[in-house]
Symmetry: C2
Subunit: 188 residues, 2 copies
């Protein structure tokens, strides 16, 4: 809020803005969030936001990208840690499932992801999301060494966890996230 409390490099400032944008976009999505709210939270002026990102949509895209990136990093950490002990794809997937559970305990990250999917009516955003999702899929495949059927099931559970965690509460059974990869990789 206070003017020029600290003077950062443009890159650092961009990061700070994206962090703020994650919180704000999580609430309202692309259309439902004002750049002013993001700027206020980031502690910069609203015009400067446009200097840093050009358009609101570009900022949204940068924010979504960071969301996927954080997820990939979390998976890498969990994957590598488990791999040191075991090469069993099941064990690795299970560990990454647990890591994902921790990740989406952060409601903002979860909501932003849901907003990203919903925003896929826009072709430009769809392309980004497809891209990032594909990259994440390949990363999980590489880290775990699991076969395609297992991966598919694992991602499917992840998607359900997203929704159930979000709508959550009583009425929907509390679905253990830890069981994500536990539910059998084999088909029948």
């Amino acid at each position: 809020m206070n003017a020029t409390a600290t003077r950062l490099s443009a890159e650092e400032r961009r990061d700070a803005v994206v962090v703020a944008a994650t919180i704000e976009f999580a609430q309202g999505g692309l259309a439902g969030t004002s750049t002013e709210a993001i700027a206020r939270r980031a502690g910069v002026s609203q015009p400067y936001l446009f200097q840093l990102f050009g358009t609101k949509k570009e900022l949204f895209i940068a924010t979504v990208r960071r969301c996927f990136e954080r997820t990939a990093l979390q998976f890498q950490a969990a994957g590598r840690a488990t791999r040191a002990r075991s090469d069993d794809p099941r064990a690795i997937l299970e560990a990454m499932g647990a890591a994902y559970g921790d990740l989406i305990a952060d409601r903002d990250l979860l909501l932003l992801q849901l907003h990203a999917y919903a925003a896929c009516a826009d072709p430009e955003i769809r392309e980004i999301v497809r891209d990032e999702y594909g990259r994440l899929y390949r990363e999980v495949a590489r880290l775990s060494g699991a076969d395609e059927a297992s991966l598919e099931q694992w991602f499917a559970y992840g998607m359900m966890c997203n929704v159930v965690t979000m709508i959550g509460g009583p009425g929907t059974q509390p679905l253990s996230l830890r069981a994500m990869a536990g539910g059998g990789a084999a088909r029948s």
Copy 2:
């Protein structure tokens, strides 16, 4: 467009507006859609929309409800048709999975669903969505007679189909929706 081409009962008009709203909300979600666009598509004046629904959010909720209702009807039809031939939960889930594939070929329905989940940052909407989702779950359980593990897996695949169908295209493997219930109900 033409004024008062046909004079409908308020109930009929509400239905017509919800149909139009499905298309418009699918594109932009709650915040990203103007009531004017919906009114124009429905062929009524924008103020009349407010007389019929009170607020934009109420209209959104009505639209989401109809989306879930359509899904339930589709499931009922598929479930009953299969049940006439077989009581095997697997066969019934498979038939309903195919029916769901047909349903989300309608991009608007799919997008609206995604927007509904994303809009769950709003407690009022979250409650509606949780409610409708729970009702759908119980309906599928009742119709199929499947055990909880199978149902969970079936819904998980459905959620993944939502996302993959939406972001679709090259890069993500084209995932057969027909296989939704085919992927084994048993754990391991």
